[in-house]
């Protein structure tokens, strides 16, 4: 799997994945949480700090993809929107789910899909 290169805004986020930490940005001024990293608060334009997500959330919506979008991509896989308990919504995947188990609003917990270079992608499992 190829992922986009890190830049000055996202480098911290990517490095944290080596320690299997999902980091969010929290505004120093208004407390707003956001993900993915933007480097500036999207609510009040304040400065942000990084905080670790608890790694728990709720399945907002999902689809099971049965047609491979590209050569080498194995199907089926589950694309999901997960609402973290801190607030931000992630576009992610649900790993190792039995299809009958999936349902909107189910609780999910953070898992990791490792990349060859030691970094990892945050995915979720049903909890």
């Amino acid at each position: 799997m190829t992922v986009p290169p890190a830049d000055e805004v996202t480098a911290h986020w990517w490095e944290a994945t080596r320690e299997r930490r999902l980091v969010l940005e929290r505004c120093r001024g208004c407390g707003h949480y956001q993900h993915y990293p933007r480097g500036i608060c999207t609510a009040c334009v304040g400065t942000v700090e990084y905080v670790d997500a608890a790694g728990t959330g709720r399945l907002y919506s999902f689809t099971v993809v049965h047609r491979s979008p590209a050569e080498g991509v194995e199907v089926p896989y589950v694309v999901a929107l997960v609402d973290l308990d801190e607030g931000p919504r992630l576009l992610t995947r649900i790993a190792a789910a039995e299809q009958g188990e999936l349902a909107c609003d189910r609780r999910v917990v953070l898992a990791w899909d490792p990349l060859p270079d030691g970094r990892a992608l945050p995915v979720f499992r049903l909890s």
């Binding site: 993900h35 993915y36 694309v79 929107l81 919504r89």
Partner: protein, 188 residues
């Protein structure tokens, strides 16, 4: 199954295609060979730039684009004779009809039950057959405008909606995130 719950026939066939629309003043258009069709109102709304940023999957930007278009035209959904809604997927149509106020939220499927959208079925919808019936060249929205213009000019023969004087076109772009509504009418 393509991507649950969408099966193959819930998705447009990807094709080539194209279209064009000529815009000019009503005064100028009245001296052309074809009957003019009047832009009564239009509205646009973009809700997000990525899937992760979608505020509510079930209430699309068509709520706001539709409100702006209806407001500009001083019309409501009940006064529209022909409805041309972008139909990339079956769910796109249901969400759009709900957002545009033709039925309540969550009622789209029930609203179309009983083949109401078929020719002569009481709710003239995507009267060309829609992209789900034949094509999707990437910019299907122009076909919505072309079909609406043909309906308002009375050029549609077997599929002509009798007495059509107003039409709504709704285009959707991005990832169900960019919306444009146009209301068209005959020249009175």
């Amino acid at each position: 199954m393509v991507s649950s719950p969408l099966h193959q026939l819930d998705c447009c066939l990807v094709t080539d295609g194209g279209g064009a629309v000529v815009l000019t003043t009503l005064e100028r258009a009245r001296h052309l060979r074809h009957d003019p069709v009047v832009v009564l109102g239009a509205g646009e709304c973009t809700t997000s730039t990525s899937m992760a940023g979608v505020p509510d999957l079930l209430r699309t930007g068509a709520v706001e684009s539709g409100r702006r278009a209806f407001s500009a035209a001083r019309l409501g959904p009940a006064e529209i004779d022909v409805v041309e809604v972008y139909d990339s997927f079956t769910i796109t149509v249901l969400l759009s009809l709900e957002a545009l106020g033709f039925c309540g939220f969550g009622e789209g499927a029930r609203f179309l039950e009983g083949s109401r959208a078929r020719p002569g079925g009481g709710f003239p919808l995507d009267t060309s057959g829609g992209g789900l019936s034949y094509c999707h060249p990437g910019m299907f929205g122009v076909f919505l405008l072309i079909e609406a213009v043909r309906q308002l000019r009375g050029e549609c023969r077997e599929r002509q909606v009798g007495g059509a004087e107003t039409a709504l076109c709704h285009g959707t772009g991005g990832m169900l995130s960019t919306h444009a509504t146009v209301l068209l009418g005959v020249d009175r």
